[in-house]
Symmetry: C2
Subunit: 478 residues, 2 copies
């Protein structure tokens, strides 16, 4: 087990230095690497395989609900970006500008898209003419660039990969329903596939997307009690449609402006998975999106029959899960820690004695529990075990969320939380910006969301003492 | 049928004006649209679905042969691009330069990647240390930018989508084998999935990739007899490895440079599909990558039982192919031409009389043949029919290729071809640049490739009369 200790020593402990533990995992699990391009990362094969599973799963859910994919240009001409005032104000300070193409100095600068509302609007104008053309339910998988000063792999990088949905609807009601439909879909995706419980809610005006009428969010809690905004869904009203002069002939033959939404999740979700489920031995992956769900490790593999039986097991399991056989000549101990680092949900150990008894040992990564499984039952038992792992991960994350969620009714209680605790803090709020700013300055807390599931914590805003308008959740965020 | 005539009138005839016919199809089949970004296109949902099928099919073939996906930055710092001399000379004139990030003027310009050899090399340097780390078989799906002066959707656009494989090997032999392995894989992909026959061969030194030792190509012939370079595979030797100082400890414990390849196919393949199979009624899609393989069109759908039976048919066919039911209230004639324009391989017509007889009519798009199929046999017969369509498309394209391939033994024969024919011209060649340039100037022909399957057409270069070194194929290219 010397090898194992060596590997473990290489990771900072999660409780000692969470930030360093995080970057250690990114490197050691071979998810990503730095590049010489400021703020941009290389997503390595293991990280890419993880992202592809996230993409393909979510993509199927979006297609199932009649969304279509589309591919738009990487560049936005400066004039196009400027068409919607709030939007350009929000994004212009953080974009990369192309000023030269080949040997030609451009007459109009192009920004590398930080998000594609403006490009979608330009295209919508050419394809929307009548109410019969609505809704348009478009989605794009791609890369975007935002010039970030401080970057961390997956959590905040100058270039990241994401999906951005952009939809146009006949009525405001339809668009609002889409905004919330996607919020629910995102929440379901995180809970059912990433094993991450989330809180759904609305962002404050201060925190909403540049150009949106309202922004909804799913907020997840990381193991350290900090919040990660994991996906957002925006309702635009007809603001962009008016700015881009997109109109359609309505059922009453009169011209009307369509109503719009946009929504996205990104490679940031990989950061959420790391920080929600990982531990001191490395990554812990939810089975639904793990590139390898089960790894078979032969014990005493030089002994007669062991490798043959392991290969037979591999072929049986291939029918029911994503499985690999590690028959390299590394020591079993080294293999154990290697695959633990990579967060493979289930490890199967198979040695001569197991074969004799007609069984194998399955160890679940997240809780180290050993399960003796008859080899004849393996194709039935492993899918059940993977489901148990998912449920276990979800329960663990839910417990962390619930035990780190607090309520406050006064500034004293707020300050007590700010000084002594981490997690989410629920309070009432008057909806005034001053109180939101005060929380940031005095308590170091930012608004996460006004949750869809409201609770009654009195009728007074504890910050200013005036009438409360809503319950709100505060926290420290990535 | 008035509707149908109307739509057909909207497309230029293929024989009248091939270039205009091409752009008409791109627009009318809703594959792509123009954008306000110079040279960049919007790939619409139908074009994107087609590209996703191409991507997913090829991706599975690459993964099957142990290639792994990876995601690298969109930007290349100027200094990094300059590390390999021939490479920068080839690409610097056609890249887009980012000079400003947010409010900050960059101290070093970044180009938007035109291809990623340099980024891969930078990453390889950090992950290759020992012969045990080899081979590295990496692939990336993404977008690249080359500042093109004249653009046409899919064929040549300033931004395009592609896969770029980059591999590193222990020996030159291994790298050369990979180069040819991929060339064969590309040829198989085009033939088995896109129904496009290709000629495999080696590019001349003049035409090879900037920085490569040798470039291999698959050349396809379009319906108009012009060539389309449809995929390339490059062998780099250790040139980049030396330029980037990438070395590994060999089996003999001595440091060595790894040997490299790169290879790619792009959204240009969609152009190949259009120009190889399309006709005067629109697009014709090979079944393997058609977003919809079969469309069911109910006839007299208001009559009792028709829609119900059509839906039953839909559900049965969903088990064996990608199928849609068009129960919109458009007239059947309008539906026929709409789905013909979109190139859907098989149309099923189902009316009250068909139902009475227990059969339906399946019409294959590429040859308009009608097939009467018993409804009880539909799940068996449709996959067979799709296979027939594929074989029919392939045979048609092969016939076009063969009947437009000529041989010449003298300048007279070459000039006769140049003046009176279109297609591929085989000649011997001395391998001198002067003769290659002369062919371009005098005959308007460019070298396509020195085919892997050589033929003996004498021992003299017909251009200069000197000793021939190889058989070569000339043509006019997109």
């Amino acid at each position: 087990m010397a090898d194992k200790k060596k590997m473990v020593r290489d990771i900072t402990s999660r409780d000692e230095d969470f930030a360093k533990w995080y970057t250690d995992i990114v490197k050691k699990a071979e998810l990503a690497d730095y590049s010489s391009v400021k703020g941009c990362m290389v997503v390595r094969p293991y990280g890419t395989a993880l992202w592809e599973n996230i993409r393909d799963t979510l993509d199927a859910m979006l297609k199932q609900s009649n969304h279509e994919n589309i591919m738009l240009p990487i560049f936005i001409p400066e004039g196009l970006l400027q068409k919607e005032k709030d939007h350009v104000k929000g994004f212009a300070p953080e974009v990369a500008w192309v000023t030269q193409g080949g040997s030609e100095k451009l007459s109009e600068r192009l920004c590398v898209r930080p998000t594609s509302e403006t490009l979608f609007c330009e295209h919508f104008k050419t394809v929307i003419h009548s109410y019969r053309d609505l809704p348009k339910l478009y989605n794009q998988w791609g890369n975007v660039v935002r010039w970030e000063k401080t970057t961390r792999p997956f959590l905040r990088t100058s270039e990241f990969w994401w999906q951005e949905g952009h939809t146009m609807h006949e009525t405001a009601q339809d668009a609002k329903e889409e905004t919330l439909f996607i919020l629910d879909l995102y929440a379901k995706f995180l809970e059912d596939y990433l094993a991450i419980p989330v809180i759904k809610g609305k962002k404050t005006d201060k925190e909403k997307f540049a150009g949106a009428e309202s922004t909804y969010t799913i907020e997840a809690m990381m193991h350290d009690g900090k919040a990660l905004q994991s996906g957002t869904s925006h309702y635009f009203g007809d603001g962009f449609a008016r700015a881009f002069d997109i109109s359609f002939q309505g059922r009453d033959n009169k011209p009307a402006y369509p109503h719009q939404t946009s929504w996205g999740v990104s490679t940031r979700l990989i950061g959420a998975i790391i920080m929600c489920h990982g531990d001191d031995d490395g990554l812990v992956l939810p089975p639904a999106i793990a590139p390898t769900q089960v790894v078979i490790i032969p014990v005493a593999q030089h002994k007669e029959g062991v490798l043959e039986r392991a290969e037979q097991l591999l072929n049986e399991l291939k029918q029911v899960c994503r499985v690999k056989l590690d028959d390299s000549d590394n020591a079993p101990g080294w293999k154990f820690s290697e695959h633990e680092m990579k967060g493979i949900p289930v490890r199967i150990e198979l040695g001569p004695k197991d074969i004799e008894k007609g069984e194998c040992v399955a160890v679940t990564r997240h809780n180290r529990e050993k399960h003796i499984i008859p080899l004849s039952e393996i194709a039935n038992e492993i899918p059940k075990l993977l489901k148990e792992v998912h449920d276990g991960l979800y329960a663990q994350a839910k417990e962390n969320l619930q035990s780190h969620t607090y309520k406050a009714h006064s500034m004293d209680e707020i300050m007590d939380f700010a000084k002594n605790k981490t997690g989410f803090l629920k309070t009432m709020w008057c909806k005034n910006l001053e109180c939101e700013m005060y929380m940031k300055e005095k308590a170091g807390l930012t608004s996460r969301c006004m949750p869809n599931e409201q609770e009654e914590l009195g009728d007074v805003c504890p910050i200013c003492g005036k009438k409360a308008e809503t319950m709100i959740i505060w926290g420290r965020a990535y």
